[in-house]
């Protein structure tokens, strides 16, 4: 008999209660139980970074995380990046610069980038490359992605300064 548990997960500021098998990964619960299909997956083995979400502000691989361990923590997915319908500056910058081609790696990429900018408001190119080094992309050659993170950082700094 599959062991199930009653989970209380906070995702994008909303608390969900669900009763599900303990061996379902956070990726599966987000996509299948909560139908938050914005979180994508490319290998489910922790090798590509596509399924990255934020847990307490830190990027983690949702394909290798158990929801039972995520209770009481703040989970943010790509659906939670916009606030009050306003896209996050990273989203706008990615869209404007063409950093999303097929867009499949982008949710994970955005969340890794957000964690970086939350920590370091003006990262240099190398820091951005290192922060995104676990998120594979096959379309862009990363150039536009790195530029978009820089643009977002710039705009966020401008917005923050009086």
């Amino acid at each position: 008999m599959t062991m199930k548990s009653l989970l209380r997960l906070t995702v994008n500021g909303e608390t969900h209660e669900l009763y599900t098998a303990v061996h379902k990964t956070l990726l599966e619960v987000l996509r299948e139980d909560l139908q938050l299909t914005g979180t994508k997956h490319g290998c489910e083995l922790g090798e590509c970074g596509t399924c990255t979400v934020l847990v307490d502000g830190q990027p983690i691989l949702s394909c290798l995380a158990l929801p039972v361990e995520m209770q009481g923590r703040e989970i943010v997915t790509v659906e939670g990046l916009a606030e009050q319908g306003e896209p996050h500056p990273l989203q706008t910058a990615f869209a404007e610069l063409g950093a999303a081609q097929c867009g499949y790696c982008i949710p994970g990429m955005l969340l890794s980038a957000k964690a970086l900018l939350d920590e370091e408001s003006a990262p240099d190119r190398r820091q951005i490359q290192e922060a995104l080094a676990g998120n594979l992309c096959r379309c862009t050659g990363y150039v536009k992605i790195l530029e978009a993170v820089e643009l977002a950082a710039e705009r966020m700094s401008e917005a923050a300064s009086p």
Binding site: T37, K40, G42, P87, E96, C102, Y104, Q129, L136, C139
Partner: protein, 794 residues
Amino acid sequence: MTDKNGDLNVVGQPWMKVDAMSKVTGETIFADDVILPRMAYCKILRSPHQHALIRHVDVSPALERPGVLAAITGKDLPIKYGILPVSQDEEALCSDKVRFVGDPVAAVAAVDEETAEAALEDIIVEYEPLPSMMSIDEALAEDVQIHDYADEGNVHKFVSLEFGDLEAGFAQADHVREDVFFYEGNTHLPMEQHAAVANVDGNGRLTLWSSTQTPHYVHRALEKVLEIPRSRIRVIATPNGGGFGGKSDPFPHEIVVSKLAMITGRPVKVTLTREEVFYSHRGRHPVLMWVKTGMKEDGTITAMHFRSHLDGGAYGSYGVASTYYTGALQTVTYPIANYKFEALRAFTNKPPCGPKRGHGTPQPRFAVEVQMDKFAEDLGLSPADLRRRHIHPPFSKTVNHLTVTTIGLDECIDKVVEASGYEEKRGQMPEGKGVGLGCGSYLSGAGLPIYWNDMPHSGVQIKIDRGGGVTVLCGSIDIGQGSTSVLAYVVAEELGLDLDDVVVYTGDTDLTPVDLGSYSSRVTLMTGNAAIAAARPLREKILKAVAEETDTPEELLTIHDSLLYRTDNETLPLMTFAEAAALAEARFGTLGAVGSYTPPKRGGNYKGAGVGPSPNYSYSACVAEVTVDPETGIYRVDKLWIAHDIGKAINPLLVIGQVEGSAYMGLGEVMMEEMVYRRGLHEIPSMLDYKSPTTLETPEMETFLVETDDPEGPYGAKEAGQGPLLPIIPAVANAIYDAVGVRVDELPISPEKVLAGLERKARGVEPRVGPDKIPDVQFPDPIRVDRPEEAPVR
């Protein structure tokens, strides 16, 4: 449409893609995101053998497992199919024989994916193993055939063509070189694993959502295999999470879920695992190449004899076309006076190869561009100068009867040579640092369709709502390259619309006119031309209605930003586009239009002439700068300068994105990517072990767009999605030579190979790593084709 100043209002601007916000918010629904009520899940049982007869399959134990809804085998889907009419050799599920580890054998639908997967273990299959052939050599030596329709033994296809007089050409040469190269196979590795969902409605109509680049061909394959008229099948291509050619064939999983949906009466989803994506493959063919070229002192190529041996894997796929493509475009990049091309594609017991970005052309490009560098050294010329001597005159014919229209290769070479400081750096940098140059050309769509017909290659339909909204319908599908956006730009340009007033629906066989698909770099040129063809009559109707209503001469009217103006007073709009459209609807009836595009009939009149013709060809050049550690052979690509003859950039932002993406993919191929097999199995079928570059391996890139205003392309445009990959690979190879004096004539250029070359150099042996020879194969007598009269000698 140009306004009175000849300016374009939309085209040429770096607009955001129309789907950009959906892509960054997670809104885009990819195939695996399609969730339907009562949806069941499919898993596919695959062969554990490289080559074996199937003696017996019993799915009944699987059917007894609770939660299992259906289980099928090859007997349920006995009709063969394949992307090319000449290679109808695939089965959705193998019925009598498996040909590689991963070949599908049976499939299960169950209430959830875990149950379906568990049920695969219940299925009993008895195999009788056959000899397995994991290389061309083994395939040629073995009596047992993988397919009985092969040209001979396990040679799927022989090609032998001679253009002009090869012998006479070599007789004129002052220098002759023979070189051998090997290009290992590699795969697309789209981030999105293939997925499909099938559903049969109450009327028995089948709908398939699939991450496919070619919904039209999937439509045809479903009709054939399922024996249902196409009129009762709807294929919806979902946005592809990366394609690169890897989602261009009709695939077993698409047919299997359709069949399972028919049997169970429930929607059925399949999502391949990453390992299954490696087995689906259809990627770059491993190619062994021998090239003998004769040159005059001044660099004129008097003759080239090119031989390629392709390892095709277990099925035909696009392989016949791939084979021809390893020979077709050598003559388009540089004029070759006399040219002989011999090729063979062998069947082996590996996942089938097919089209990957550059389809069949990166391999010969690598060979020819590295050989050009060797010639330059032999002749004491700058590699850039040598290449500059080989620029086709515009609007000329190649020796193999291809028509070149505009050509921006000289300007591309100038741009990258100048920006990189190539001439100052070449041979002058500190030990371990070097620069290399590469060039290439690619087609903007194949001139001929995959299956013989006289219909257009692309169709676009436009309808106008009474609120002024314009809907564009086209069978193409966005695989990330921005094809949906290009349609919006073109229609907005032609009808004078604000981009926000245009909405585009694509890749739906019920709703959209046929477009052949997102492959062959055909979409911008062909759908763009079709969209123009649809939009212009509509614009005329609107202008006519407005002219009549406002009593203005038609030629004084213009539309931009969704507003109608008199060209003699563009400060005050006459009316909105919606008002104008209403006038036109009142005057002419419901507003709609269709437009289509068929490429010009070009090319020679010989067997095989169908591969190579295109409305126009893009050109690219690249300079790479590298740093090599002579102690370890590890190298870093420091920077790439790439120039691309785009004809006209409809959206420069997207074009640069395609150039950078192509460069990245080329970089992966030259540095690390390879499909390798051991003991009959794919050695590394995972994202961890199949190496693709991360942010840390990808260099700075500087892109230059060269505009040649080609008469065939919409607004002068050419392709951008594939050509820029071609020069990257030889540019890096040549740069490594410049840095440390080592020639690695074999891809990928791993640190191991660079170090092996350095060790040879230290021992005083020729510092080259690569194959020594190509096996002697008796090719059929060539088809001899005269040089077209208008083909320049140089």
